[in-house]
Each structure stands twice: as C-alpha cells, then as structure tokens.
C-alpha cells in the first residue's frame, strides 16, 4: 500500500465500478427521467408526453406555490438557527466532558437514529397534543395555582390547553427535534479539533469566558457551523413527514405539495417541475452562501 495512488489506477477503477454504476442506475438516471417529465404533460391517465413545454414551470412560479417554497425556506432557516442555538452549548458540553461521559453523551445524541422517524414523530404528537404530557402537566400546575389563589378569592378559572399541535409551531419544533443531531455532530467535530491551548491562551491574555467564546471559539468553529447548517438546512427545506403529521392546513411545506401532485393529483409533470424548482433554488442558495464565505475569507486574508 506504499505505492502512490496514480500507480494503482486500475485497482481504483475496479473498486469504483460498483458504486458508480449504482449511482448512475438508481440515482442519476431516475432523476434525469423526472427532469424530463418536468418538460412534459399528461397525454392520458398513465402516459406522459415530453414535448419541451415550460408550462409546468410557469405554473410552479405562481404566487401560491412560490409562497409555499419561500415558507419552506423560512421554516428551514428558522430550524437551522434554533438548532445552532440549542446545539452549540450541547457540542461544547460534549467536547469538554471527561472521556467516559463523552461516550455516553455522544450515544445519547445518536440514540434517536435507532428509532424510526415515523415513530419518533408520533411520540412527539403524544407529547404536544391537547391531552398530551405538556398540556396535562401545565393543567396540573394551573389548577394547583388556581386552588391556591382561590384561598385569596382570585381563582384563575378553567385551564385552556395550549394549541401545540397542527400548526407552524409544531412543524418547526418537530424539525428542530429531528435535525438537532445533524447540527451537534459537525459542531462537536470542529470543537474537538480545536487546540485547547488556544482557549487557555485567550484566558491567559485577560479575556473572560464570553470574550473567549466570541473571539476564539466561534471563529475557529466556523467550518463546523457551516457544515452543520448545511446538513440541517437542506433536509429541512424538503421535509415531508414532519409537516405532514405535525402541521395544520396552513403549514404545508413544498414536499407535501409535491407529494400531492404525484399521488392525489396524478400530475407528475407539475410535481417534477416543482421538485426541480426547489432543487435549483437550493443550489442557488448554497452557491450564494459559498461565494459570500469565500469573499469574506479573502478580505480577511
């Protein structure tokens, strides 16, 4: 294995055949077919004629659908920011835990992956619904408080359960819950690589904990923040199950609309156009972000 990679080209090619064939056959080719559909129309119930029409795209950028796409981006961005706010302290806690505790904490972060997303989402419904744990718990506190205040002649009245499910809040809450591990792990990886003596040097030079965090830890964790944000943002934009189960009639995300085109509406060409519009916009967003980051590093350097 001490030979250089160039000399082992044949070996590499052989090893590469299977995954390349797999990706071409089961990812790129179907994707190309769907892309083709986006330029076609239904000619019969089961037939699609690809005739190069742009009508699907014209239909897709109507305010109704564009609004849902933008809302999906907004939900995803909010999810990413919330994951970052919640995930950063968690990542720091894991980084500075003793090696023993670190293993346990990392396992806790990965534990949700061992459970099916559907089951986790239903479990979340049990927590958030009107008779769920949160509302039941709040109800108990409320009635206790009410009885207490009744002694002074000011009862609080009956408890009105909070609407925690089937709305935008539930969707974002669910997305944060699902995506959090994807934010914590890259952050942890970045922080774990950070040379501890840099933190000590900052403290030694007179900076407090907060200044050290702001001026040393965060700037050096930027690569982790960026990759964490990307792996949180992109799946969130196309989230399907979470808004489907936790959302209400007004909290549809774009994936739910696409699903309806392919199934209920039986309009594959339009569904395909929506899918690709979403993909183009995601690519655009990542490209803009990459350019901004590069310019910023260049200006600093």
């Amino acid at each position: 294995m001490d030979e250089s990679w160039e000399k082992a080209k044949a070996v590499f090619a052989t090893l590469g055949v299977a995954p390349v064939a797999w990706l071409v056959g089961f990812f790129l080719l179907p994707l190309a077919i769907i892309w083709g559909y986006s330029f076609g129309e239904n000619s019969s119930l089961t037939e699609i004629s690809v005739n190069g029409t742009l009508s699907n795209y014209v239909h897709a950028i109507k305010p109704l659908y564009l609004g849902i796409i933008l809302k999906s981006f907004w939900f995803a961005a909010l999810t990413t920011v919330l994951c970052l706010i919640v995930g950063f302290p968690v990542a720091i806690a894991i980084t500075f835990a003793s090696p023993r505790t670190k293993g346990w904490l990392l396992m806790l972060i990965m534990l949700p992956f061992w459970t099916n997303l559907l089951i986790r989402t239903y479990a979340l419904m049990a927590v958030l619904r009107t008779e769920g744990y949160v509302n039941t718990g709040l109800g108990v506190v409320w009635s206790a408080l009410s009885h207490l205040l009744a002694l002074f002649g000011h009862p609080l009245g009956p408890f009105h359960p909070l609407d925690l499910l089937y709305n935008n809040f539930a969707v974002v809450f669910g997305l944060v819950y699902v995506q959090l591990p994807f934010m914590v792990l890259p952050l942890y990886a970045a922080l774990d690589r950070l040379d501890r003596s840099l933190i000590e040097a900052s403290l030694d030079l007179g900076a407090g904990q907060l200044t050290t965090f702001r001026r040393v830890v965060v700037p050096l964790a930027i690569p982790g923040i960026i990759s964490g944000a990307l792996v949180t943002l992109i799946p969130s934009i196309g989230a399907y199950l979470t808004p489907d189960l936790l959302g209400g009639p007004s909290s549809l995300m774009i994936a739910n609309v696409i699903e309806r085109q392919f199934k209920t509406a039986n309009d594959w060409p339009f569904g395909a156009a929506l899918s690709f519009l979403l993909m183009y916009m995601t690519f655009l967003a990542i490209a803009v972000q990459a350019i901004v980051t590069r310019n910023r590093t260049r200006r600093r350097g």
Partner: protein, 374 residues
C-alpha cells in the same frame, strides 16, 4: 541587589485522582530571576507552572504573587502571562491582532494599542510582520509572536512552557541566548519549564530540579552541576560516573570512601558529615578524570593532593568518541566496570595521544568527586 520574593509556593500539592503530580513543594522565586523548572517528563514541573497560570488549582497549599494569595483568582485576572509549548497563536488573526489581543480585551484604546504592538514586535525582531497570518510564519517566528503577545501585557512574571522544544537544533541554540538577552532587556521575571538540562543551565540564573512531584534541589546551574545533593540530580544534570561505597574516614578536612567498584579508595580533601560506614555514592564527572599513559615500566601518576594508592586506577581504553573539540574515552577498569573520561583536544594533534585498546591510568584530584548521601 537585594532579592525580593515575587512568587512563593507554599506546601503545594496537586493530585489528579490518585496520582500525585506535585508533592508538597515549597519554593520562592525572586524578582528579576530567570528561573528554570527542570526535570524528566511527568515530574510535575508543567503542573506547577499551570497552577501558577491558573489553569490548575492546587489540591493543597497556597501560591502567592507579591505576597497576595492568588489561588482563587481566575487565569484572566492574574499578573502572569504564558508562552505555550504549542505557541497557541490564534490562527484566524493576523500577527498584529494576535499581539494586540490581550490589550484589546483589556480595553486599551486603539492608538496606544497599535503603538505597544509595534514596540512588542520590534522587541522580538518581527517589525513589519504585523499584517501576516500565522500560517505564513515559520515555527521560530510563531514563537516570537507568542512571546510578543505575552510581553506586550507587561506581566509581573512571564511563564514559558518548553518554549524551545518544537524548534530545530540550530534555532534552539540561537533562541537560548536570545531569550536570556530579552529577559535582561525587559527585566521581567521569567519562569521556564524544560526537560532539557542544557537549556536550563545555559539560560537560567537558578534552577529547581524536580522528580516524581518532589523538589530535589534548588540551586544555580553551576552548583547543580558541581554540588548535586542526590544521585538523581547528579545523574540528570550532565554525565557522571557513579560508584557506590562506604564512608571509611570522615574528618573535617578529609574523608575516604572505600568502594568495591574501584580498585583504589577515593580520597577527598573535605569532610562529608555522614555517619561512619554509611553507604554513600561517589559522583565523578568525566572531564575531571585525567588520562595517563601506562605500561612498559611506567610508574602510576602521583597525586600531590592525595595519599599514595588513592584516586588512581589502571584501565584500558575500550571505546573512543571523537567530537572535534573534545574526545570521550570509555575505559574498562578491574571487574569490567566502564568509566567515562573526557579530554579537551587542546592542540591539533592532541586527539592522537590516546587510542583504542591502550592501557592507561585514570586519576582525579581530591576536590573533584562529589559524595552523595542519597
């Protein structure tokens, strides 16, 4: 100059779980000293330094700076600054921002900050490097940045954790004298941690030798070398021939050690103040052993400061290492024991005087050996 104590460790003990890293160390360091904490890895020297910087808390004991107990003061409030072993230069900041960091977080205004950064960079001979990024610097330059960054804060004490260990040999040598000159110039107390005895001897005005968490000896470099107080120190500092023996005579002006490891007894021109018949160790530095030609009826050399048959042993050169300025001779004596002698090559032909498998006499003066009681 009257020495004023600046740092005082009082019965400092540090335990990590069951491991005792520092064991009841009491030590005073004076203002303006270049002080070295010397010892093998794991001896507790770095832990002692980190406790001074505030990164570790003593399990027992107190640390005083200028008479004030700093044990409860966080690192960012202590009047000490540190140069880290890895230098810990912030990779995302320019050289100037690195050096100015400590002033920035202290709220020093921009014009003064810029001026002091300039000064500090000039002090470490990095003028004009302010705009560079750390990854554009060599290891030696990064170390200078770390030095400037610590000195710009005008600390009471500068701590250096193995500052030269990451440099190549040539640069290390140059930095030694530069650090000593720098300390002379700024007048700040320097405390350096090192496992390299040459480094400590070359730079420090005083050294503390540590072993297994215990303070072994605190002395000037020359006292450590010439008057070690234990076998550990004698062995750790420089090279030494060590012979175990028994104290046969011990009077105020002379002493004799009988040893089975040498064919002749060791005579000393001073008292040892040990118990009669106590087990002692004779430490003899290689450069203090003289070589004489032997064989073909040559009489053994007579030592004018020792009785006959003392401090002279016959042997055979088994190995010779020519080092240019000097030569090292490994001489086998009776019983197969090897003794190392060192000889400066005083003339250009000197190194040819003795050669392999040559019979020689080894001799030393009555004042040369150090007798160790532990």
């Amino acid at each position: 100059m009257t020495a004023k104590t600046i740092i005082r460790f009082e019965n400092i003990t540090k335990r990590f779980g069951k491991v005792i890293a520092v064991d009841d160390v009491s030590l005073s360091i004076n203002e303006g000293e270049f002080f070295a904490l010397l010892g093998p890895s794991g001896c507790g020297k770095t832990t002692l330094l980190r406790m001074l910087a505030g990164f570790e808390t003593p399990t027992e004991g107190r640390i005083l700076i200028d008479g004030q107990d700093i044990s409860r003061i966080p690192p960012n409030k202590r009047p000490v600054n540190m140069v880290f072993q890895s230098y810990a230069v912030f990779p995302h900041m320019s050289v100037a921002d690195n050096v100015g960091y400590g002033l920035l977080v202290d709220g020093v205004a921009r014009p003064e900050r810029d001026r002091r950064v300039e000064e500090a960079l000039a002090l470490v001979k990095l003028d004009g490097y302010g705009a560079r990024k750390p990854d554009q610097l060599s290891g030696g330059q990064r170390q200078r940045v770390a030095l400037a960054r610590a000195l710009v804060k005008r600390p009471r004490v500068l701590l250096l954790d193995e500052p030269l260990s990451a440099l190549d040999a040539k640069l290390r040598e140059a930095m030694r004298s530069e650090l000593a000159q720098l300390q002379d110039k700024v007048g700040i107390t320097f405390i350096i941690v090192t496992h390299d005895q040459d480094e400590a001897l070359a730079m420090a005005s005083r050294c503390a030798v540590m072993n297994r968490g215990l303070l072994q000896q605190v002395a000037t470099p020359s006292d450590l070398y010439e008057f070690p107080n234990s076998r550990f120190v004698a062995d750790f500092i420089g090279q030494v021939n060590m012979f175990e023996g028994r104290l046969a005579v011990d009077e105020p002006d002379r002493a004799v050690v009988q040893t089975t490891e040498l064919p002749a007894p060791v005579y000393l021109d001073h008292g040892v103040s040990g118990a009669r018949d106590a087990t002692v160790w004779v430490a003899l530095r290689p450069e203090k052993i003289e070589l004489h030609k032997r064989g073909e009826g040559r009489a053994p050399p007579t030592m004018d400061d020792a009785p006959a048959d003392h401090n002279v042993v016959p042997g055979m050169i088994k190995h010779l290492t020519y080092l240019g300025s000097e030569s090292v001779y490994d001489v086998e004596i009776a019983g197969g024991r090897m003794v190392r002698a060192l000889r400066t090559n005083l003339t250009r032909w000197d190194q040819e005087d003795f050669t392999w498998d040559e019979p020689v006499w080894l001799s030393w003066h009555a004042c040369s050996p150090a007798v160790l009681l532990s």
